[in-house]
């Protein structure tokens, strides 16, 4: 760590805004981590609503048996784009936005390591999103092969598939650049005295997530490039008639796809590990084992990809290997859950909205984890693969997991971002509304899957009607809750909300971002925080 010379004019107001543009140019040329974080968060929220509308189209069609609203081709396009948009457009950029905002603040750095590249990482995303949306109106429509884009079905599609492949390439480049920035920032720009083991948990999970991204995004790029050359340049990677192997695609895809699940889950673990100690007024239990557990989950995530492929006809030994490896992930994940509960145990808990979302996360993510254990058992998975049980399972981990933790993070840090408090009652309404609607939507899907309803079908046998109608009603309620969040929580807060936020709105929060005023000034930590401050906060969090 370099020695830092304390700047004599550090005390002067950072918000002079003497050297940065305003208006539209401020956002287009943004290199400030806070501006870029804001851009990411708004982009992801817009994509979340877009993907959500597609989900509601799906649920509308499935409300009742028979095709009432959409032809099967369009239905398949909705399911495909809903998945792609939610994964690459909503959840991943939202976490990148959080990391952009929080990491420099939490480690005492002035900005991200590569500020100009940071701008590019963000501005690659809107064109990619545009390509995906345009694909709906090109001949043949958008990609309709599922978000996994399995070959050889993917080679049959029209030019919508090419646009999707291009969009995935762009989003992949964006992710990799973002990840490089995060790794470099965390490894090189921590405040004096902040060793890795004194770093807040959210920074740890961000670091590990960034490594996962760098490792697997090129794999996805490779997979879709092979589809592209199969489609247009006469290669036969996945075309059996030309000597290719359709199952190869699945191996390559899931070698990306399984770690991808953790790319969406690990930052959520980080958020919850910040929020629960703050509202339990107790240090995070087992910080060290949390770090080790997160790392082991990341490493194990590379060894279990074929559990998505039990029905492709693997040899028994391979099935058993992947079954054991998959079950093993339950151990470190369990450790994390136990640690969160031990953090709450004997605490002095209050239940503001961020805490409610964090507890909601722990409950529902654990529930999703349990159905994950059921699915890990190859023999049972044979029955449940590609049914609504799987849909229920991954929505429990991705909506109740990633999305709920994102809401928790937004409520937790919003006062720091905009300088205003949100309305607590409305926040709680948003939580309970989302919580109930979510369960009405996805809980019945377990039963549908067990009873034999395949996923990705636009129409179904009459015996599945009741649970589908229930799920559709829940989905619309869930969607409405997010509109409520936008218009009754978020926008009012940005316009002043429930008053100015104090520097430290949460009694039990002891990380560096709470040492700067609310809202955080445009430039923070131009001079790093003192070693004494870092040590004092680490002591409060019992980090050593």
């Amino acid at each position: 760590m370099t020695t830092t010379i304390h700047s004599p004019d550090h005390a002067h107001d950072h918000d002079h805004a003497h050297d940065h543009p305003t208006g539209l140019a401020r956002w287009l040329t943004a290199t400030n981590h806070k501006d870029i974080g804001t851009l990411y968060l708004w982009f992801s929220f817009i994509m979340f609503l877009t993907g959500g509308v597609m989900a509601l189209c799906i649920r509308l069609e499935l409300f009742h048996p028979g095709l009432q609203f959409f032809k099967p081709e369009l239905f398949n396009q909705f399911t495909t784009l809903h998945g792609i948009i939610m994964v690459f457009g909503a959840i991943m950029p939202a976490f990148t936005g959080l990391m952009n905002w929080q990491i420099p603040l939490m480690i005492g750095a002035p900005d991200m390591a590569f500020a100009r590249m940071n701008n590019w990482s963000f501005w690659l995303l809107p064109p990619a999103a545009l390509l995906l949306m345009i694909s709906f109106v090109v001949p043949g429509g958008a990609a309709a092969a599922g978000w996994t884009l399995y070959a050889p079905l993917a080679t049959q599609m029209g030019m919508g598939m090419d646009l999707t492949i291009f969009a995935i390439h762009i989003m992949g480049i964006s992710s990799i650049m973002g990840a490089i920035n995060i790794v470099t920032t965390i490894l090189n720009m921590r405040a004096p005295g902040m060793t890795l083991m004194k770093m807040p948990m959210f920074c740890w999970t961000s670091l590990i997530t960034a490594y996962l991204l760098i490792a697997v995004m090129p794999v996805l790029a490779g997979a879709v490039t092979m589809v592209l050359t199969d489609r247009h340049f006469g290669t036969n990677f996945f075309n059996a008639a030309g000597g290719g192997d359709p199952v190869l695609y699945q191996h390559v895809f899931w070698f990306f796809g399984h770690p991808e699940v953790y790319i969406m889950a690990l930052p959520a673990f980080g958020v919850v590990s910040q929020v629960i100690p703050a509202f339990a007024r107790k240090p995070l239990f087992g910080y060290h084992s949390m770090v080790y557990a997160t790392s082991s989950i990341a490493i194990l995530s590379f060894m279990v990809w074929a559990h998505h492929m039990y029905t492709t006809g693997m040899p028994a030994t391979a099935q058993i290997f992947f079954m054991f490896a998959t079950m093993l992930i339950a151990v470190p994940t369990g450790v994390k859950v136990f640690n969160w509960i031990a953090t709450m145990w004997q605490g002095s808990m209050t239940f503001e909205t961020p805490m409610l979302f964090a507890i909601g996360f722990v409950c529902l993510f654990t529930f999703g984890g349990m159905s994950g254990v059921v699915l890990s058992v190859a023999a049972v998975d044979i029955q449940l693969q590609d049914t609504y049980y799987v849909v229920a399972h991954f929505h429990y981990v991705l909506v109740a997991g990633a999305l709920f933790s994102l809401f928790s993070a937004v409520y937790y840090w919003l006062p720091k971002w905009c300088g205003f408090m949100y309305n607590e009652t409305r926040g709680k309404v948003h939580f309970w509304w989302s919580m109930i609607a979510f369960n009405v939507t996805f809980f019945p899907m377990h039963f549908l899957g067990l009873a034999g309803m395949p996923r990705r079908i636009p129409d179904y046998g009459v015996q599945f009607t009741e649970f589908n109608s229930m799920a559709s009603v829940g989905a619309f309620a869930f969607g409405l809750a997010q509109i409520y969040f936008l218009f009754f929580v978020l926008l009012p807060t940005l316009r002043g909300g429930a008053g100015a936020a104090p520097q430290r709105p949460w009694e039990g929060a002891h990380t560096l971002e709470w040492e700067v005023p609310s809202p955080a000034p445009f430039h923070t930590w131009e001079a790093p925080p003192s070693k004494e401050l870092v040590d004092e906060l680490a002591a409060k969090q019992m980090l050593h």
Partner: protein
């Protein structure tokens, strides 16, 4: 739009009123094979274990939430680490997993053991139907959805009456004898499909270019239904599977019937056809195979081009291209060279070139297709 809204409201009220005798199935379908029974029991075991863990873990959490709240005056205690506790809650879950993995491994080995089969059926996935070849009996047929289109495609139409097995009924079901080990060989013609009958706990992807196998031995006579479960394009949701498990005698009768039917359907490849016969035959083939995408009136839909008035089907000069397209396929258009006989191909191409507004006058003979195949 108003119509749609009112229709969905009507649907809502129908759903509410029907719920009195609704079908709320909460668990796996009743197993009829030993493997399915084992899977059922395994799932129940997992459910109990996971349920137990859930209750214990969340019991602790909610106790803490109620007792250790600031509002109740609880002061935070400052413990934050305990290696002993961490070891315990690493080792115990690991042991629980071993307890799950043990029976699970046994069932996996049982599922994967396809030896000692009494009979073998080759299953081929097509967009969008199933082909079955009884390798021992020499019986072959295709199996398609028979639920009438009016029952599922109701964009703005009257509310149809749906039968009990809506979307789960086929023209030619698979028939197998009860209590026999049936080995299935699976492959596909175009994209990946998956053959699933929940009551047998058989689910296996059918992959183009590869042969995979699985097996079942049904212990009870009856009709069992399943569906394709791998997204395979437009009609993925309309690819049901129906298996009739019958007594040995009934099975033998069925095999004889099938053989007679196949003999009756055999075409003489050297026969020279007249235009009216060929058109009639072609229409049948078209309705059964092509209408699902290109529509009965040849107008096409979505990504599927219209044939009525298309250059390929109405220009005399493009006859060879037309034949090649049907034989080889392109993008979502599958190759029909293996699924249809020379006579059927000649018939359907003749039909397409002379039906609706197309008036080429071309009459194809089976011999011409045979030549084009080379």
């Amino acid at each position: 739009m108003k119509n749609r809204v009112s229709r969905s409201l009507a649907g809502l009220s129908a759903a509410v009123s029907l719920s009195a005798f609704a079908d709320y199935q909460l668990n796996l379908q009743t197993p009829v094979t030993k493997v399915a029974q084992d899977v059922y029991d395994l799932h129940t075991l997992l459910l109990y274990i996971c349920g137990g863990i859930f209750v214990v873990v969340f019991g602790v959490m909610f106790y803490s939430i109620f007792k250790h709240r600031k509002a109740a005056g609880h002061k935070a205690v400052n413990f934050h680490e305990s290696t002993t506790v961490e070891l315990i809650w690493t080792i115990i879950p690991a042991l629980i997993l071993v307890a799950m993995a043990w029976p699970a491994t046994r069932v996996v080995l049982e599922q994967k053991d396809t030896s000692g089969a009494d009979m073998t059926i080759k299953v081929t996935g097509y967009q969008w139907k199933w082909g079955y070849d009884y390798l021992d009996e020499g019986v072959s047929f295709h199996s398609r959805l028979v639920t009438p289109q009016v029952q599922y495609e109701n964009f703005g139409g009257e509310k149809p009456v749906r039968n009990e097995n809506y979307l789960l009924e086929v023209d030619n079901p698979v028939v197998v004898p009860v209590g026999k080990r049936v080995r299935l060989l699976l492959t596909a013609n175009d994209v990946i499909h998956a053959w699933w009958v929940p009551a047998f706990s058989v689910k296996q992807d059918a992959i183009p270019g590869f042969i995979r196998d699985t097996w079942f031995k049904a212990d009870k006579e009856g009709v069992y239904r399943g569906q394709c479960v791998e997204l395979c394009g437009k009609d993925h949701g309309f690819m049901p599977i129906v298996v009739h498990v019958v007594s040995d005698e009934k099975y033998k009768v069925w095999v004889d019937e099938q053989k007679k039917k196949m003999a009756a359907n055999q075409d003489d490849p050297n026969k020279v056809w007249t235009m009216p016969d060929m058109m009639a035959r072609g229409q049948k083939v078209y309705e059964a195979n092509c209408a699902v995408c290109h529509k009965s009136d040849g107008k096409g839909q979505g990504a599927f081009p219209a044939l009525d008035g298309s250059k390929m089907a109405s220009d005399k000069a493009q006859k060879a291209d037309h034949i090649a397209m049907v034989l080889v396929g392109k993008n979502a258009m599958p190759s029909w060279s293996k699924t249809l006989s020379d006579t059927e191909l000649a018939a359907v191409i003749t039909y397409e070139r002379n039906a609706w507004g197309n008036k080429t006058g071309d009459l194809l003979q089976p011999a011409e297709i045979k030549a084009a195949r080379k």
